[in-house]
Amino acid sequence: MIILSLILLISGLIFFTGGSVGILRFPDFYSRLHPAGKLDTMGLFMTLSGMALYVLTDFSLGALLTALKIMLIVVFIFITSPTATHSIADAGMRAGLPHWTKDQRESE
């Protein structure tokens, strides 16, 4: 159980690293939102699941309630993080921010 929790925590950290590196590497505003919003959500899911499993190792009612509360945080993040990503992208679109397209790069 602790090994599974460790694997989940480390893979969560890998997803977070990918999200941060992606923000730096992607070429324009809209494509930077993809790693920022999504990889961070996945990283949070893995990290919090790892923590919930760790809490559940010595099983008791208190531990079960703590794990349930951690999963409640995951549910909250899964609802609000895509909505926030959508709002940012929508705001950019309404403000008229130009998109980076692939043929733009060939003319560099």
Binding site: I14, F15, G18, G19, V21, G22, R25, F26, P27, D28, Y30, S31, L33, H34, P35, G37, K38, L39, T41, M42, L61, G62, L65, L68, K69, L72, F78, I79, P82, T83, T85, H86, A89, D90, M93, H99, W100, T101, K102, R105
Partner: protein
Amino acid sequence: MGLTNPEKRSLSPEDPSDTKGTKEYGRSSRTPLSTRALTFLVCMITWVILSGRFDLFHLILGVIASLIVAAISADILFPSPRVEALPRVWVGFLKYLPWLLYEVFLANLHVLYLTFHPRMKELIDPQVITFQSKLKDDMALLIFANSITLTPGTITLYVSVLSKYTVHAIDKKSAAALPGDMEKRVEAIFNDRPDLSSGGYVRGYRPGLCHA
């Protein structure tokens, strides 16, 4: 009460067959008892999970707080009068969730691969696509839009009232996956009951917007 007239679409506030006590316009006595009971149940379960104490004092506090919420704000949490059909939707949603998590995981691995690839700028091809969706219900549109944004490679930019989605996709592979399989699965949550899938669920209190 509730499902007596399934073919009636426009639930205006003056419609007497679906509400209780319509003598006064706009009074909270219009929300039916099933809505209040479901609100009370949801509040009570959340209270017990979050507090973790099962002694009588805290349980009675929870009951009082849930009763106050159910008395005042029951129509905010579940706006439609047809709450008897809701548990069916929840079960359908629970069946949809594992598939969604699996798809999210796979697509996240794809974006991770794109992020760490040394020649990423040749691989990505950001584009904005639009498509018309068959879903009519508010909750179905919400679940579909959130699933699109959760699945990496696509961000929902705009959803029109007539179910037209504008989506930003990061490469052709993610764009080709829409609408496809995901829309079929979201529709499957809502079309066990014909009165739910044609807009009778959440749109009951806005009669002008029913005819998509």
